[in-house]
Amino acid sequence: MSTETIAGSAVEVDGEGFLEDAKQWNEGIGEEIAHSNGIDPMTDRHWQVVKFMRATYLDTGAAPSIRSLGKLSGVPIKELYQLFPKGPAKLAAKIGGIPKPRGCI
């Protein structure tokens, strides 16, 4: 764990750059994490996914899987991969300031 300054705020991040405390997050931080991960600009579709991820996490304590995102977020899986290349669930979680999604058994 280390402290980093992102978009002018000091935040705690883990070894892979995920925020340790979801409460330290704001949209400016999300925007900057997105840019440093090659997403520029953050479109409304990006935000739809990120905000859905974050709301689900804050509500249930767990981030949804990609399959669940595809069913619930209003963005189909194919498009999720276009918006967030390589790992939509991981990247959207990072941008949304929530922990890395855990794979289930």
């Binding site: 899987s65 399959r67 669940s68 899986i77 194919k78 999720l80 390589k86 794979g103 289930c104």
Partner: protein, 421 residues
């Protein structure tokens, strides 16, 4: 007052629950009704062996009715929906069945049509799953005709029944091809959406070194978006491709369709939203769920269902007596992992503890954990007898407690890190 318990599904969980409850409660106190759509009970762990000609359909299939003790009323119908407010189950054939307590044990269903192209050209010819009896039998034919080329074993996405089974298939395929003298002519690949061979770090490390030893290529973080049976290629959502001549795939899983038709009962995949410790459904206090039908973060496996049955029998008893439930279920799973050449690993774990090396059961136990042995393989083969004669009748396995024990396990010195998706 006489209670009516309705159990949906006469598979592993439903049969164990019906038999356990029948033994614990007199017919005057409790009426037990079980609903299933057919009368064929398949020993699902046996499906893995069918493609290799090591077992046959009639060796692993028995009538459901014959597994249920006397005094259990088995009704044959599809389920239309559950009305949680009215506490009644609606069938497609026959009148609704009101219940005092409902136990949902309808497992999970395969959804091959949810992956683009999977059931298109090539399905049943060069694209198979061994998760159904038909698929396993078809695959046996295709494997027997295989002379060379690329054999790809693919897991589309979690959750699936018996998450180690796809790996076991790859290991057994390596053995089978050796045995036929054509291993050199076949490239074997294991393609998974996970970032490692398995979900938990120590088991993942052990299993990927086995893949390595057996020269089975491991392709990770491959989110299958399309199966192209005509050209013989798997395509991921991020447009990577894996070519195949023969594809053995484990399709997406979901809950039974009636769960989605019963508002509030299931999650977005149709699995029953269930308390992980009491097994009570989130939607209603007089509804419980067991086995593959739940959304619990543990393996969908018969051993898990067996341990759950012990806790759930207790909780149904407490519920009908108006006593507080026990939250004793710990996610315990215990699985033999067939690794080919008459050897197997054993893993034993729960919600909190990942599979660890050591001995089982206990320090002096005969079975090594997370290590290959002949005895584990024999254990796996013997298990079928225990399934029909001990598990389904609702008895306990000698020497194997419901809750996971740390005795005999060797935890790593350093803190563990979860493998994440």
């Amino acid at each position: 007052m006489r209670q009516r318990i309705v159990i949906l599904g006469a598979g592993t969980g439903g049969t164990m629950m019906a038999n356990r409850l029948r033994r614990a409660h007199s017919r005057e106190d409790m009426e037990i009704i079980v609903v299933d759509r057919d009368d064929e009970h398949i020993y699902q762990p046996g499906l893995l062996f069918v493609p290799f000609g090591l077992t046959r359909a009639d060796d692993i299939t028995r009538p459901r009715s014959a597994q249920l003790h006397r005094g259990i009323d088995l009704r044959r119908s599809e389920i239309d929906r559950v009305d949680l407010d009215a506490s009644a189950v609606y069938l497609t054939d026959g009148p609704p069945i009101p219940y005092d307590v409902l136990v949902i044990a309808t497992g999970s269903e395969l959804l091959p049509e949810d992956t683009e192209g999977m059931t298109g050209p090539g399905w049943g010819e060069r694209v198979f799953t061994f998760y159904t009896l038909d698929g396993a039998q078809g695959l046996a034919g295709a494997l027997a005709e295989l002379r060379g080329g690329r054999l790809v074993v693919n897991l589309v996405d979690m959750p699936v029944k018996c998450p180690v089974a796809p790996l076991e298939f790859a290991f057994l395929a390596d053995w089978y091809l050796h045995d036929r003298g054509i291993r050199e002519d076949v490239e074997l690949s294991f393609v998974t959406p996970l970032d490692a061979a398995f979900t938990k770090p120590m088991a993942a490390a052990r299993l990927s070194s086995l893949l390595d030893d057996k020269r089975i290529e491991l392709v990770t973080e491959f989110a299958t978006g399309e199966v192209d049976g005509r050209k013989g290629r798997l395509v991921s959502y991020d447009e990577r491709e894996v070519p195949f001549d023969l594809l053995v795939t484990v399709p997406l899983h979901g809950g039974a369709p009636y769960v989605a038709r019963s508002p509030g009962l299931g999650d977005e995949l149709g699995f029953v939203q269930t308390d992980p410790f009491t097994l009570q459904a989130r939607a209603a206090s007089n509804v419980f769920a067991i086995g593959d039908a739940t959304n619990l973060p543990t393996s969908k496996a018969g051993s898990v269902t067996h341990f759950e049955a012990d806790i759930l029998t207790e909780n149904v008893d407490r519920f009908v007596r108006d006593r507080p439930l026990t939250g004793a279920f710990d996610g315990h799973a215990n699985c033999f992992v067939e690794t080919g050449f008459k050897k197997a690993l054993l893993i034993d774990f729960n919600y909190e503890t990942e599979p660890l090396p050591g001995r089982f059961p206990g320090h002096a136990g005969p079975l090594p954990l997370l290590a290959e042995s002949r005895l584990n393989h024999l254990g796996k083969l013997m298990f079928q007898w225990f399934y029909w004669h001990v598990l389904l009748p609702g008895r306990d396995l000698p020497g194997i407690p419901t809750q996971m024990s740390m005795a005999g396990k060797r935890p790593p010195a350093a803190p563990m890190q979860e493998v994440r998706q």
